[in-house]
């Protein structure tokens, strides 16, 4: 699924457009715990994953950069700071924001085929 489709499905707004718009997104992680995102990070670089989160600080971008995640969807209408946006641009990570709550955003994407990122035991 293209990021543009995700934007439409979640009635989201693109805050910074950096990653490749043609990336075929297949997986999502939803968490406000960055250590969990890192703990359940894929075993190898997979740019086709996004993170859905309510946290908007710089550490979210750092975490996605480390975990190889190409885009972040901020839920509950949260807007990141200018610093967070600047770092996302530097790391080539797209930022979207939606007014939907996390559960709803996840449900919509799941129904359209986006699955949880595979967990390595």
């Amino acid at each position: 699924m293209k990021l543009e489709t995700i934007r439409e499905l979640l009635h989201a707004e693109i805050i910074s457009k950096c990653s490749n718009p043609d990336t075929d997104i297949k997986f999502a992680k939803a968490s406000d715990l960055m250590s969990d995102v890192l703990a359940f990070s894929l075993p190898f670089t997979r740019p086709e994953a996004i993170l859905i989160t309510g946290l908007t600080n710089k550490q979210v971008v750092r975490t996605c950069d480390i975990a190889g995640i190409c885009a972040i969807v901020f839920v509950r209408g949260k807007n990141p700071s200018a610093e967070t946006i600047r770092l996302a641009e530097e790391c080539n990570i797209t930022i979207l924001t939606t007014k939907l709550k996390m559960y709803t955003a996840c449900g919509i994407l799941y129904a359209k085929g986006i699955r949880g990122a595979p967990v390595k035991e």
């Binding site: 406000d32 715990l33 960055m34 250590s35 969990d36 890192l38 703990a39 990070s41 075993p43 190898f44 670089t45 989160t53 946290l55 600080n57 710089k58 550490q59 979210v60 750092r62 975490t63 950069d65 480390i66 975990a67 190889g68 390595k120």
Partner: protein, 147 residues
């Protein structure tokens, strides 16, 4: 015979500096990319470096992370001065945390840091003295398939 060090760099980390937290790990990731290290291994090293860096920022007064590249392995050595860890066995349990509200608001302090570092490492060594500080030695074999 001691293995030859091909590359070495030290990164200073300031305790409580949540604004710049993660920068050292970001630099380490860039260096490893430039050297041409396998992306799976870069991922594992970056995750371990980032968790270790966040631990220094959250719990220590000051620390340093050393990146040492050998022909067959990469070593991350983190030394900090601070409160240390009273019970390492407890600290290694997933979910155990002494984090403050501020740390949790940053998305950290869920008690996954040390277990996460160990999971990504080939060799993980931790030494800590309560009231003094903590030393971590994290080794990644360059031909390893862990991860």
């Amino acid at each position: 015979m001691k293995e030859k060090i091909l590359f070495e760099q030290k990164f200073e980390i300031n305790g409580g500096d949540f604004v710049n937290a993660g920068e050292s790990s970001y630099k380490i990731k860039s260096i490893l990319k430039e050297i041409g290290i396998d992306s799976d291994i870069i991922r594992r090293i970056s995750i371990a470096a980032y968790e270790a860096e966040m631990n220094v920022v959250m719990y220590a007064e000051h620390g340093a992370m050393h990146l040492l590249v050998y022909p067959g392995k990469i070593l991350l050595r983190i030394e900090d001065r601070g409160q240390g860890i009273k019970d390492i066995e407890l600290a290694m349990q997933p979910g155990f945390s002494t984090a403050t509200e501020e740390m949790r608001e940053m998305g950290f302090g869920a008690g996954m840091g040390l277990p996460n570092i160990k999971k990504n490492a080939d060799v993980f060594d931790i030494k800590s003295t309560a009231g003094k500080g903590t030393n971590l030695n994290i080794t990644f074999n360059l031909n390893s398939k862990n991860g």
